[in-house]
């Protein structure tokens, strides 16, 4: 479909974004099923998905804007262009990056509507495709304060076979949902802070460890099913005199201790973590690194060294005022993020991810434990072989959290040991690295 409007719009894009212009020009939408929707305003619908409000597209754009803060925006999708158009009205808006991943939507709208604002220098268009360079960095913007994921382009993606990006959009939505639920627990948080304060004020914080410890390489050992698959190799490595720093969550302890592997550090962050799986007597030589609201039934019986820290989310600000510290751990729902963040802070230049599966290959939830516990498999995630494995929406969100960490640090190599678990964008596979 080549209308006069299309060529006018394309000319604007060609000047600054020739790669995208070329892709749009080549893309064929001759067979695209679309309708014009006329209510109090006018919109377009593609394959039964409406691209904008047919009543008040400006109000709709305002709704998206209320999700953001700051003066830099990252708009995923194009819709009919009403959202970036509104954002450009804001004189304080410095930059509006629009991520184009659905060429059907983009080309159709360029063919039907004038988009003179595309020439505004504050607008940056990025063409997103699966194997593009810098994908890791681009995906990070999904979690930026100025991120907006437009509905229609996303819903249309759902109709395609290529779900990798859709999963990352959903991860962002689930992350908002999880965070919202966390905010409802403030009474519990306050209670736990009261309980833990007298214990913590006598203990050193993780700042002290970060100041005095330097490591080169870390093994971040999650409790996913691939841990069991690699346990013999990990055991061999563990018994070497010079070996990387082993750091694991309490959920991986059963599998590790059953194989006589005592991690150098055990990390616990969850308010609801139970001491049930912690064999305190076996862990005398291990260090406990724990979030300040962890159950005291884990902190008090720990016989080795122990250091507390606060998490980065704002619900820890109050406790950080009482017990101030420099380090605040990044978290996106899972302890494995904290573990990776601590390894980075300790100076690791190579971080091996083991048992970080973010899914349930072979219907196993945790290494060393039977069944799936209370977790239900309600979605899928792509593994390292390009296959879809069962997962849980929240577990899949954890994968985005790990991808964010990887994209945020320079000079650190992340190695994913297993292809049976989720593909983590930005991490290399061990077999690829060894093949070089």
């Amino acid at each position: 479909m080549s209308t006069e409007l299309f060529w006018e719009n394309l000319k604007l894009i060609k000047e600054r974004f020739p790669q995208l212009a070329q892709a749009v020009e080549k893309h064929n939408i001759d067979n695209l099923a679309f309708d014009i929707v006329e209510k109090q305003s006018v919109s377009i619908s593609i394959n039964g998905i409406q691209l904008s409000s047919a009543y008040d597209p400006v109000e709709e754009a305002f709704e998206y804007r209320t999700l953001t803060s700051g003066n830099e925006y990252h708009v995923w999708g194009f819709g009919i262009g009403n959202v970036p158009e509104l954002l450009l009205q804001d004189k304080s808006a410095k930059k509006i990056t629009i991520y184009i991943y659905n060429l059907d939507v983009f080309k159709l709208v360029l063919a039907l509507m004038p988009k003179a604002w595309l020439s505004d220098k504050r607008v940056e268009l990025v063409y997103v495709y699966k194997d593009m360079p810098e994908l890791s960095n681009i995906l990070k913007s999904l979690f930026h304060n100025g991120a907006i994921v437009l509905n229609p382009d996303k819903s249309l993606l759902e109709q395609s076979d290529d779900q990798w990006l859709l999963h990352r959009f959903e991860n962002k939505i689930v992350s908002t949902h999880v965070h919202r639920n966390q905010l409802k627990r403030d009474d519990e948080f306050l209670e736990r802070e009261k309980e833990n304060y007298p214990i913590l004020k006598k203990l050193p914080s993780l700042d002290q460890v970060i100041q005095n410890t330097k490591i080169k390489e870390a093994f971040c050992i999650g409790a996913g099913p691939s841990l069991q698959a690699h346990i013999e190799e990990i055991k061999d490595l563990y018994n070497k005199v010079e070996r990387p720093f082993f750091i694991a969550p309490s959920t991986a302890l059963k599998c590790l201790l059953d194989n006589d592997i005592i991690p150098d550090a055990v990390v616990v962050v969850d308010l609801d973590s139970s001491p049930k799986y912690i064999s305190f007597d076996d862990l005398k030589n291990s260090t406990l690194l724990f979030a300040s609201r962890v159950n005291k039934n884990i902190i008090e019986p720990w016989q080795g060294r122990k250091y507390y820290f606060h998490l980065h989310d704002e619900t820890y600000d109050r406790f950080n005022q009482r017990l101030p510290m420099k380090f605040r751990s990044y978290i996106c729902g899972s302890v494995i993020h904290t573990i990776a963040h601590i390894a980075i802070e300790l100076g690791a230049k190579k971080i091996n991810l083991i048992g970080c599966d973010f899914g349930f290959p072979n219907k196993i939830w945790h290494s060393g434990r039977d069944g799936m516990g209370k977790i239900t498999a309600d979605t899928v995630i792509e593994n390292g072989h390009g296959e879809q494995i069962e997962s849980n929406r929240v577990y899949r969100m954890f994968c985005s959290g790990m991808e964010n960490i990887i994209s945020m640090v320079n000079g650190v190599e992340f190695i994913n040991w297993s292809r049976m678990g989720a593909k983590i964008i930005g991490a290399k596979y061990r077999d690829e690295v060894e093949a070089k």
Partner: protein, 94 residues
Amino acid sequence: MTNYSQASKNKLDLAAQAYYQGDYILGGELLRVCLESFNMITKMNHSLTVEQVKLVASKATVINAALERKDYVALADILRYELKQDVPYFYNLM
């Protein structure tokens, strides 16, 4: 710039807001509460005419169809604008 969310407390409108913003989880939670209330009102309120009940039922069908095809913007339009216009009695109860 104004913030619509501060101006309204109607549950249907809040659901519409969530769907406009792409948060189908929150939108779904709010909409479920509204649909349960719809259901209860039609069963309990004997003064409703058959036409009114039919109109509500037809709206529920349209809502379900939009939900099924994940047409969240159209769904938000229905919740924010069309219900208010077509079934104001129910809209005002939410």
